[in-house]
């Protein structure tokens, strides 16, 4: 593990832990953006800069802003008062999360992972990505486009004030 | 068509912009105040001052300390004390002079009533407006010496009003002289 990776991992984990313990919802969302920044840095480190910047573009500027708008549109009196932000069955939730983590760790250390790394001549080029997208993956692309359209229309209809 | 209004507006502003360089007199209408200033209007008024005739503000002061203005002043910003001895005024009548004449211009509300009521045309409204002062109390309490301004100055800022006043005063002097002559004639005939 190199120092750079350790620093980025620390950033990601700080954001993730902050998002699970902070009290105010807006603070949680802001620490979510820290997680995304860390992840974007990891993507760039893994020679996928296009996806890293796309992650920032999609998540930080679109999804996070959407979440923030929703947070502001739904003011929750119960949670912003003194009631604990954690649900009643939180112990059980922690146990489930912990056991999943233990299971994943067990699997990672049992799996026969290749320790080496194949050298790339250049980072994944956007051009080849686009060519794959337009030849081999054109059907998934169309499906995704359809899904996005459906999701957009659905979201608008669900969130409309007077569904009529 | 969308955008045609924008083009029209931009042509207008471009004309304005270029005009300030080509014809600055027509387009640059700003008066750069401390260096240039517009002349005050005839009817402008700010705070009162005392008019004196001749060169000496002590001797030529028109005020006779009749205290009408002090009584009429709505915010009561005028304070007058009479002098002990009398001096002859412009028609030769013996009159008192004010030994103290103070106007607190921080209280004055520029109503011009003192000017209206003065029977001796001794008080007029000034157009001076740069009165800022570091001394909040003393600096704005004007005494007789600072209030006194010459008749020429008055003629300069209120030419029309001063002309009328001068005409009336000349008439008064003429009448007084005529009266005196009549009295002298009567005295000599007795």
């Amino acid at each position: 593990m190199s120092l750079t990776f350790a620093i980025i991992a620390a950033i990601v984990l700080t954001g993730a832990i902050g998002l699970s313990v902070l009290r105010k919802t807006v603070h949680c969302v802001l620490s979510l953006t820290i997680v995304f920044f860390g992840l974007a840095m990891l993507y760039i480190r893994l020679d996928a800069p296009f996806l890293g910047f796309a992650l920032v573009l999609i998540y930080v500027s679109a999804v996070t802003i959407l979440i923030l708008f929703t947070v502001l549109l739904t003011r929750n009196r119960e949670i912003e008062t003194d009631v604990s932000p954690y649900s009643r069955g939180s112990i059980a939730g922690l146990i489930v999360g912990g056991s999943v983590f233990a299971g994943l760790i067990w699997m990672i250390y049992r799996a026969p992972l290749s320790r080496g790394i194949t050298e790339l001549e250049s980072p994944a080029s956007v051009k080849s990505l686009g060519e794959r997208l337009m030849t081999e993956y054109v059907l998934p692309l169309e499906v995704i486009a359809l899904l996005l359209t459906a999701a957009m229309i659905g979201a608008v209809i669900v969130a409309m004030k007077d569904p009529g | 068509m969308i955008g045609s209004g924008i083009v029209k507006g931009m042509a207008q502003t471009a004309k304005n912009f270029a005009g300030t360089y080509i014809a600055p007199r027509k387009y640059l209408v700003t008066v750069e105040y401390p260096e240039e200033r517009l002349p005050a209007k005839e009817n402008a008024r700010n705070f009162p001052f005392l008019v004196f005739d001749g060169d000496d503000p002590e001797a030529g002061l028109r005020c006779v300390a009749c205290r009408i203005c002090e009584k009429e002043c709505p915010p009561q910003c005028i304070y007058i004390e009479k002098d002990k001895e009398k001096k002859p005024d412009y028609v030769g009548k013996m009159q008192f002079q004010p030994s103290v004449f103070d106007i607190d211009i921080s209280v004055c509300m520029s109503c011009q009533i003192c000017v209206e009521v003065c029977p001796f045309d001794a008080i007029r409204m000034d157009t001076e407006f740069e009165l800022s002062n570091p001394d909040r109390f003393g600096g704005l309490l004007l005494d007789k010496r600072r209030l006194a301004k010459s008749n020429e100055y008055c003629a300069e800022i209120h030419p029309e009003e001063t002309e009328q006043t001068e005409a009336r005063r000349a008439e008064d002097v003429r009448k007084a002289v005529a009266k005196k002559q009549a009295r002298q004639q009567a005295a000599s005939s007795d």
Binding site: I67, I108, A151 | -
Partner: protein, 103 residues
């Protein structure tokens, strides 16, 4: 250079944290955020396996992440719209208090 297991470890941690957030927090939006966190942990796995796999010239891992990003965006939009609709109807965003299924 860091090894594949480092990335997998980080991704596992992120996934479990996301799961915990989803299960533990009361606010509906935070539940959604937990799901986003899990999705991103999976994405990290995809990219790590692509990069450390035997054939990084084939870009399948990246393309999967690309599609997953789009799905996540769609999911966030619909999820938030649902939260808004529920809030309009019951003025509640606490998942524990959304316990009526009657229309």
């Amino acid at each position: 250079m860091d090894s594949l297991s480092d990335y997998l470890l980080l991704s596992a941690l992120l996934f479990s944290l996301g799961l915990c957030v989803t299960l533990v927090r009361r606010h509906a939006i935070l539940v959604l955020i937990g799901i986003e966190l899990m999705l991103n942990a999976a994405n990290l796995n995809f990219i790590a396996f692509w990069r450390f796999g035997p054939n990084p010239e084939a870009l399948d891992g990246l393309l999967f992440v690309l599609f997953s990003l789009a799905v996540a965006a769609a999911e966030a939009a619909v999820g938030l719209a649902l939260i808004l609709a529920v809030y309009r109807r019951y003025s509640v965003t606490d998942v524990e208090n959304i316990d009526e299924l009657k229309g």
